[in-house]
């Protein structure tokens, strides 16, 4: 039923039909198209061995994004261009990115290599800067167990500018030719996949199919399929709804649409406050940020999502929509209990509105994890404190990883509010976190560590905000001796 999926591969239009709607692009490549250069390393978007590049029309230009094929459902290819390692070059006729990897000795066992080549290709194609820090960010989602990364970073530094830009006009033209005139609607053995082109259309379809799974970037939903072997009967994708992709400056706040990916929200949020920028830099690997959405991170209700504590602290509000009806609520009210959110059947998160913390606020975001980059937080804190005349006027302090939902620390806030902004006040307020939270222990951190570290994050905020502020952020530390 419906038209086939149409996408570009190696300059030609490919059509796909008769596939399961949750067939991953990785399996499509390896087992249907026999393009086995793309590897499966983890099937959860954490290792990058399956990295491919999507080309997408954006404002008439082609935008290139490295993504994880293992958790990308094939219907999302519709209207897009797919580049795999086979698209670049062959032995004897290597692409400059591939040649740079050879010349720098960037491969040892070679299994992660195609994914790394594709991440570098995406960086090169996007004209990304190739200083070490930028390359480390571009490669944070590509695990290599052999090299120690030095040779790979060297390849990135020497790969040069993209030789492929001359073809961008033709590519844009070819993409325009396959842009869908109407939303995608697939049916395969009773399972359905919708990808509407607008929020209105989406709202209508979701009202008709309130049991459907809403698919944004799929960096969480993809794992339901690859890790939990769940069969999703009906899926509604946000990926083609152009009017959900907007970031609107409302003056003093920004409105981030449901389909806005982390990578696109980064600049806007970083302008609200640089702390958001560093949080987003550390959220997932680039492949995850290229697919995942800010609203998806909220909508799925995870107690350890990175965005909610920071957004709650910034006073964000959530826009929910069902059919034509919309309602707005403080973000903190959305999270009711573990796995339970204030969302009706057929209702979806349409946007989040984030207010800019006033310049005189003490605003800190802190994430604790075993590894700095591309890790899930053990504790995440959003801290927003107003101080006037040496006294705390108000405080909004939210934590993730401390309870069944991301939420505010009422006792801690109360212990701060109205008190002099001193170390003693902060210590008392930090102690009050024991009343606010009874965290659990798991493989990421023990309960005791979570509570103590949460307290210390408040103390760290005070130390860093105090006059002779010591910058304690280890992630920023450079060699001293």
């Amino acid at each position: 039923m419906g038209r086939p999926i149409r996408f570009l591969l190696d300059g030609g239009v490919r059509e796909l039909s008769g596939i399961a709607p949750t067939l991953t692009v990785l399996n499509l490549l390896r087992y249907h198209l026999r393009r086995t250069g793309t590897k499966e390393g983890c099937a959860e978007g954490d290792c990058g061995a399956c990295t491919v590049v999507l080309g997408e029309l954006e404002g008439g230009q082609v935008r290139f994004r490295a993504v994880n094929a293992c958790i990308l459902f094939a219907p999302i290819l519709d209207g897009r261009a797919l580049f795999t390692v086979e698209s670049l070059g062959r032995e004897g006729a290597l692409h400059p990115v591939q040649q740079a990897m050879v010349d720098s000795h960037g491969s040892q066992c070679g299994f992660c290599t195609p994914g790394i080549v594709m991440s570098l290709y995406a960086a090169q194609r996007s004209g990304a800067t190739t200083d070490a820090a930028s390359l480390k960010d571009a490669l944070a989602g590509n695990l290599c167990r052999c090299t120690g990364y030095g040779p790979i970073l060297a390849a990135g530094a020497t790969m040069g500018a993209s030789p492929d830009t001359a073809g961008d006009g033709a590519l844009a033209e070819a993409l325009r030719a396959i842009q869908p005139a109407e939303g995608l609607e697939l049916e395969h053995k009773g399972r359905r996949f919708f990808s509407p082109l607008s929020a209105d259309e989406l709202a209508k379809i979701y009202e008709e199919h309130p049991q459907a799974t809403i698919l944004a970037g799929g960096t969480d939903v993809g794992l339901w399929v690859t890790k939990q072997q769940r069969v999703l009967e009906t899926v509604i994708s946000l990926n083609d709804a152009a009017d959900l992709r907007g970031i609107d400056d409302l003056g003093g706040s920004i409105r981030i649409g449901a389909a806005v990916r982390y990578v696109d929200a980064h600049a806007g949020l970083a302008r609200l406050h640089p702390q958001f920028g560093e949080l987003l830099r550390r959220l997932g690997g680039l492949q995850v940020r290229n697919l995942g959405t800010v609203c998806g991170n909220i909508a799925n209700g995870s107690p350890i999502g990175d965005m909610p504590p920071a957004l709650i602290a910034a006073g964000a509000t959530l826009v929910l929509r069902k059919g034509q009806a919309r309602r707005e609520m403080p973000l903190e009210d959305y999270f009711l209990a573990y796995g339970k959110q204030d969302r009706q059947p057929g209702e979806f998160v349409e946007a989040v509105i984030v207010r800019k913390p006033a310049p005189d606020r003490i605003f800190r975001i802190a994430k604790l994890s075993k590894r700095f980059d591309q890790d899930i937080s053990a504790v995440c804190a959003g801290i927003n404190i107003g101080v006037a005349d040496g006294r705390v006027t108000d405080a909004c302090i939210a934590f993730g990883g401390m309870a069944a939902t991301p939420r505010r620390a009422a006792a801690c806030e109360a212990a701060l509010t109205g008190q002099p902004w001193t170390g003693a006040t902060v210590e008392t307020a930090a102690e009050a976190l024991s009343q606010d939270f009874t965290p659990i222990g798991d493989m990421r951190a023990s309960a005791a560590y979570r509570l103590e570290a949460a307290k210390n994050l408040l103390i760290r905020t005070y130390v860093e905000a105090s006059e002779a502020g010591e910058d304690i952020r280890t992630a920023q530390a450079v060699a001293y001796g």
Binding site: C109, G110, L139, L143, A479
Partner: protein, 771 residues
């Protein structure tokens, strides 16, 4: 005769560095791994049915629904094993499928073979399994209390250490926990078996040990070794995790292929791979040192307890190697090393780069840090005062160290890294900053080279010279990314003085070179390079005899061609003439490491042919409020003898260091009380990523390096030793934490130094310093 030590000879590659032979195929995606081989028609896909308990009797295993599920062709259990239900390397204690007793969570109970992997997986979920639960011994402590061991506790002694320590002017003691490590090879375990005629099976598998795979399959199936051909072109990483742990899956696929006469493939996904395969052993270590006021050792006592898992696997030798390396680069003067090998209800721990050596070295470095702190000395000075070659040369196992270059390397590195000035600067920083603390450490590595099981130190190679002058090279080693194939090919190209491009590297096969040892113990180039060289020399000897008879002169192989008297011939023309004169141009080469012997009953002998050395200096920063920590600078100087291939060797050094750094910092294996591994995917198990590579990373091959033993071109093994350079990171972290108490109290920091453990060490230290 072999002239492997010819000092004047420069390998072609040294003037024109060559990278990994497969690099162009790696980067283009054309390199074939087993799952990339076009699937043969009729292929069966296997999925493993796993136990949901760590320790239990299976009271009911009802697989009827599994057998009836769509697409299922065959279900295998221990009842289907034709001969011996054992895949162990030697102990006879590791079943292919558990019989009635489950010994770790995830242990294979059965295996489904179906028309597709999703069908096999869906069917496996339909099994009805009931258990009578038994108490699992999950931790080392629990197993020790229960007396659960894989073998008797081993002891190694040099002199009377307890008396020497008791009589020493100064003593320190402590306890150290060292975590395990998941290999996290990017390519998971996989095997593809294609049945031939009769009992013949061709096995493609990702293994470091084709011979053992062959032997175990024959043992399980009850057929001749000769019926089984195992082939390995390359692995997507091994690190020890495919030395024994790859065998079980190949044996399952072989059994399915034999029963159905259809090709069969098994590929573990990441979670199953992490749950079902063994890891680096975690250790609990008690230690005590006696020393004088200058920090010179009088004696050392170590008591190791290692979690071996449910079966022996290679734990005997791994724990032996921990004992062998408890001295690292230091003359202990007297030593008592006790090693408990504990059997637990967890997955069977196995080989991992360093093979117990890293855990052994961790404790002496910790102990020397503590000794230095107790004396108020720079740990580097205490280290330098105790090196082999400085304060003695006798190891606890009776081998005399004659080749130590640790002092030269450490002093050169201390100068090039600016260690002394940086330590002073860091001391000033720490005095001025309350929360962000810094630490620095410079530690050596001395790693013994040879399999400590002496008979394994042998290798074979097969070299064919064709009449067009091309050369086919086969040897018993396997390629897992370490660049073994290119190194051996260089040796062959050099032997005949032909271009590297005329040497064809072929996949490792048990029907070409039999009875090989695992590619392990860093021995790949040493053993296989020499075997290949011996094969080349045998062919050259025949060619020489031919030339002498035909022309009255011996030929000389030069880069410009073969010199025969006045004549210069191309290699091709020369071998073609030899062929016409009926000279065999094919030879099997063999090599065994000379001069090594070891008596395991007394733990004495000369287990190692030589030692590899290196040193690293690491600087770290630690947030004492959260325990977050970062390695900000690393300097490395490492001895590879005369490098066969500097590009490959540097790759091993950096890769080994970063892997070791991960082991000691972010990589944490967590088992819950029921024995369930809760960190079984990269979402929860964190190996280093690009951002973890220290911003300043200076690395060099130690220029004067030359193996004093007659190894291939005087090179040294490089696979494992660099991993232990990362112990400098752990010592630097310890140093940073110690600064909290003004270096008056020794931190109780355990590995891996996650933020949580670092914060715990800071808190503990504050309590002890204040209380």
């Amino acid at each position: 005769m072999a002239d492997s030590g010819a000092a004047a000879r420069i390998l072609p590659v040294l003037s024109a560095p060559s990278g990994h032979d497969s690099a162009p195929r790696h980067v283009s995606g054309e390199a074939l791994y087993i799952d990339d081989i076009p699937e043969p028609p009729g292929l069966l896909h296997l999925y493993v049915g796993q136990a949901a308990r760590a320790h239990a009797r299976v009271t009911r295993l009802d697989l009827s629904a599994v057998r009836k599920a769509p697409g299922v062709v065959l279900v295998l259990t221990s009842d289907d094993v034709p001969a011996k239900n054992d895949i162990s390397p030697f102990a006879g204690d590791d079943p292919l499928f558990s019989e009635d007793l489950v010994r770790f969570m995830g242990q294979p109970l059965f295996c489904v073979a179906a028309e597709s992997l999703p069908k096999a997986r869906a069917a496996a979920a339909l099994a009805v399994v009931e258990y009578a639960d038994l108490e699992p011994l999950v931790t080392t402590e629990a197993a020790r209390a229960a007396g659960s061991r894989i073998e008797a506790t081993q002891e190694m002694r040099l002199g009377d250490a307890p008396a020497a320590i008791a009589a020493a002017p100064h003593r320190v003691s402590g306890h150290l926990s060292v975590g395990g490590q998941e290999h996290f090879y990017l390519e998971g375990q996989i095997a593809l078996v294609i049945p031939g005629e009769g009992p013949d099976l061709h096995v493609w598998t990702s293994t470091q040990h084709p011979t053992e795979t062959q032997h175990v399959i024959a043992r399980v199936l009850g057929c001749m070794d000769a019926a089984i051909t195992v082939e390995v072109r390359r692995m997507g990483g091994g690190f020890g995790g495919k030395e024994t742990q790859s065998v079980q899956w190949a044996a399952m696929a072989a059994l399915a292929a034999l029963k159905t006469r259809r090709p069969a493939k098994i590929r573990l996904d990441r979670d199953d791979d992490m749950v079902l395969t063994g890891k680096r052993h975690d250790f609990e270590i008690a230690w005590e040192l006696g020393f004088d006021a200058e920090g010179r050792l009088h004696g050392a006592a170590f008591e190791f307890a290692a979690r071996c898992g449910h079966s022996a696997d290679l734990s005997h030798a791994i724990n032996d190697r921990a004992m062998f390396h408890a001295d690292n680069a230091y003359a202990l003067q007297s030593a008592e090393i006790i090693s408990h090998r504990l059997r637990t209800h967890t997955v069977s721990n196995t080989a991992f780069r360093g093979f117990g050596g890293p855990q052994g070295m961790m404790v002496i470095e910790r102990a020397l840090d503590a000794a230095a702190l107790s004396l108020g000395k720079d740990p580097l000075d205490v280290r330098l005062a105790n090196l082999y070659g400085v304060s003695g040369d006798l190891t606890p196992y009776g081998q005399t160290v004659t080749d130590s270059v640790a002092r030269e390397i450490m002093e050169e590195l201390a100068a090039s890294s600016g260690y002394r000035a940086r330590r002073a600067a860091i001391t000033r920083w720490n005095a001025a900053h309350e929360h962000l603390k810094r630490g620095i450490a410079l530690t050596p590595v001395k790693f013994g080279i040879s399999f400590t099981t002496t008979h394994l130190n042998q290798a074979g190679a097969l070299v064919h010279v064709y009449t067009d002058g091309s050369i086919s090279l086969n040897h018993g080693g396997t390629e897992m990314g370490q660049g073994l194939n290119i190194k051996v090919a260089q040796v062959v190209a050099d032997a005949f003085q032909v271009p590297l491009a005329s040497v064809k590297i072929t996949s490792t096969r048990t029907d070409k070179v039999p009875n090989t040892s695992a590619t392990a113990a860093s021995s790949g180039s040493d053993l296989n390079g020499m075997a290949a060289l011996n094969a080349c020399n045998e062919i050259k000897d025949r060619l020489a005899a031919y030339a002498l008879a035909a022309f009255g002169v011996a030929p000389e192989f030069t880069a410009g061609g073969v010199q025969v008297g006045e004549r210069t011939m191309t290699f091709k023309a020369f071998v073609n003439e030899a062929y016409l004169a009926r000279v065999s141009l094919s030879a099997a080469g063999f090599y065994k490491t000379p001069d090594i012997h070891y008596d395991r009953a007394t733990h004495t002998g000369r287990p190692f042919y030589y030692f590899a050395y290196g040193a690293a200096c690491s600087e770290v920063a630690v947030d004492t409020l959260t325990g977050e920590n970062k390695v900000v600078r690393v300097d490395i100087l490492h001895d590879v003898g005369r490098s066969l291939n500097p590009a490959i060797d540097l790759g091993q050094i950096e890769g080994g260091f970063i892997q070791g750094m991960g082991w000691l910092t972010t990589e944490e294996l967590v088992f819950d009380a029921k024995g369930r591994l809760t960190t079984h995917a990269p979402s929860t198990y964190k190996i280093p990523t690009a951002g973890d590579r220290p911003e300043i990373f200076n690395m060099a091959i130690w220029a004067p390096g030359e193996n004093r033993e007659d190894t291939v071109h005087r090179s040294k093994a490089v696979g494992e030793p660099p991993l232990m350079l990362a112990i400098s990171v752990f010592s630097a972290l310890t140093d940073a934490v110690a600064s909290v108490g003004g270096h008056r109290v020794m931190p109780n920091l355990d590995a891996p130094a996650t933020p949580e453990r670092v914060l715990a060490a800071v808190n503990d230290l504050r309590r002890r310093a204040g209380g």
